[in-house]
Symmetry: C2
Subunit: 366 residues, 2 copies
């Protein structure tokens, strides 16, 4: 798992845009029927529980304008209302953390400092007094744990705690990598992103939304394959659609930068290669899912519900990533387009049918 030092991306001249082709989108997606209400209520929860993590009202509003509260309702569209709401709040919570991890004036300033905050969060999850204390991350984690664990089997509750730990571990590794400007190799990147993208709770919430427990089946080789391909598809789609933001933040732990700078591809070639990988993992996921559905496990109601939920998670996650101003710039509004030229430096971007002239002229440079 080698990590090498590279010069900062901002020193690369000339490249201001890239072209995102249409991605395959072979899987279904849907919005929870109460998506809008859940997003609004969840924004109220963020203000109440995490408002003081933000330096001022405007920073909080920038976060709320990213519409992170709709990630839950898009990824668990058929969950009961209360579960969809709990999941929405959880994703807001981890996205607040992820935002400050990317911010060198906040959690991202110091690897040790962040590890201490993360340890305090983990301690508060288990502490009934956390709700009365002054530490907002801990209070929020405790509130979520109480609401969500009531709907989980004991083994799943342990996985919930483990999933938060894995996420925070991934965040800490990303901070370290970024502070040293170290760009990892592809497999290292995928391993860290598995944690920092929250794959463990993405899978667990797919069970929670469907009201099933896959704890035992997760060890089956076919389930491992399902998870590898689904999560890689989701991570790479995320790295493609979040590239504008990650580029601006100087993040190192993204597949785009790995292929571009570590493996020596031009930026557009790296994008194209990743699009091919998205299709590969999406089709591989569908193949193994269909194999499971056609076999003895496919007779089980809970397995079918879980796999249907997994389809919707993959499709919904991608839908959210086209939608969120988090990736297209504060103030952007999605109008449904999913392919085109994206400006890396404009404060607000959208998919355009053609590159700007200036960019086209420098485009031959790799």
């Amino acid at each position: 798992m080698g990590v090498h030092l590279m010069t900062a991306i901002s020193t690369v001249p000339g490249i201001r845009e890239f072209h995102l082709p249409e991605l395959p989108r072979l899987l279904p997606y849907a919005y929870h029927p109460k998506a809008a209400q859940i997003e609004i209520a969840s924004n109220g929860w963020v203000r109440e529980f995490l408002g003081e993590c933000f330096p001022d009202e405007e920073s909080l509003l920038v976060f709320l304008r990213q519409r992170n509260g709709i990630y839950g309702p898009i990824t668990v569209p058929f969950a009961a209302d209360d579960r969809a709401r709990n999941i929405a709040d959880w994703y807001q919570f981890v996205t607040v953390i992820d935002s400050f991890v990317s911010d060198r004036s906040a959690l991202g300033a110091s690897h040790d400092g962040a590890r201490q905050v993360f340890a305090a969060i983990m301690a508060d999850v288990d502490d009934a007094d956390a709700l009365t204390r002054e530490f907002p991350y801990g209070r929020a984690a405790r509130d979520l744990w109480l609401r969500i664990s009531a709907g989980l089997a004991p083994a799943q509750v342990r996985r919930l705690v483990g999933s938060l730990e894995a996420f925070l571990r991934g965040c800490a590794t990303e901070i370290e990598s970024k502070l040293t400007d170290a760009i990892p190799d592809y497999e290292t990147c995928m391993a860290v992103r598995q944690d920092s993208f929250g794959c463990d709770f993405l899978e667990l919430f797919t069970e929670y939304a469907a009201g099933v427990d896959m704890t035992e089946l997760r060890a089956e080789p076919e389930f491992a394959e399902i998870h590898t391909h689904s999560m890689r598809q989701m991570i790479i789609v995320n790295d493609l659609l979040s590239w504008r933001k990650e580029h601006a933040d100087g993040d190192t732990m993204t597949a785009v930068r790995v292929l571009w700078q570590q493996e020596g591809l031009g930026l557009q070639d790296a994008i194209n290669r990743l699009c091919a990988l998205v299709e590969h993992h999406e089709r591989a996921y569908i193949a193994v899912r269909d194999r499971v559905l056609a076999g003895p496990l496919g007779q089980r109601e809970d397995v079918r519900a879980y796999l249907e939920g997994m389809d919707l998670l993959i499709g919904g996650s991608q839908e959210f990533e086209y939608l969120t101003p988090r990736y297209f710039g504060d103030g952007s509004v999605w109008d449904g387009t999913t392919s085109g030229w994206l400006d890396l430096t404009a404060p607000v971007a959208r998919f355009r049918p053609a590159p700007s002239t200036a960019s086209a002229e420098t485009w031959e440079w790799k």
Copy 2:
């Protein structure tokens, strides 16, 4: 219907905030299950059909950030998807016009100029060639007319055209009133707002969403009562929740300004009086609706469907008005609060539990 000249509101010193009490909200509201998707797709339609009405991309984005595309899905939550989408696009269309009517650098600059534009829109509705011409308002009106009239009875199609004409007439009257800074009396204001708030198409789309035709029944005295009370409730709620924006725009045709400046009430007294009027009209609407439902007309399926739709229109319109950054400032994000102190001058406002100290000190002034 007297209209008197008053000094501009901006000359009134000291008042920076007002308190909005909880409104009764006795009627149900719901979001269309595809509210989010309809809003996104409708934003794409605005860009395609009306994008060139905006002076630049940023102005278009300010409009799209107001989330006007969700007014349809909130007010016709049980309509078929395609009808909800058509209604969403219509409301975006009339809100674009309403925005430029409030803008002295656009349609609001000249009463005659606006009347010419409005006449051209009405001509294009009836003209099959309008879709190929360069006049975006006319092309949009024609596109909407084609999509919506297919689902209406002939008498309803005539009402659709009439409703657009009434709306544009109301807009023209508002422009004239604003350019002369003339504040009307209460009944004049209500009569103009009946047009400019689009009451005729609000009622018609309630029929369209429910798939019924109330053209004949509208003449019944009880239906007239239903419409008077429902529309006055909606207009006054709108005037309360849009007061921040109308105040900033210097608009004259709003019940708040009428009561405050024309009838000599203090601002807070005017707000409180209007809140009482909201409750009065809401309860009066419910009483006459219940009378109709208990009588012979209440046996008719179509009447019941229409009145259920009317409930949801009133409740949904209010829900939207708490939600929209149009009224709370570009960049605001609703977190579900519906009462509190509202700042009239902050670029972005939200309901606060207490007034700011400065405002409290000057608050005694009327």
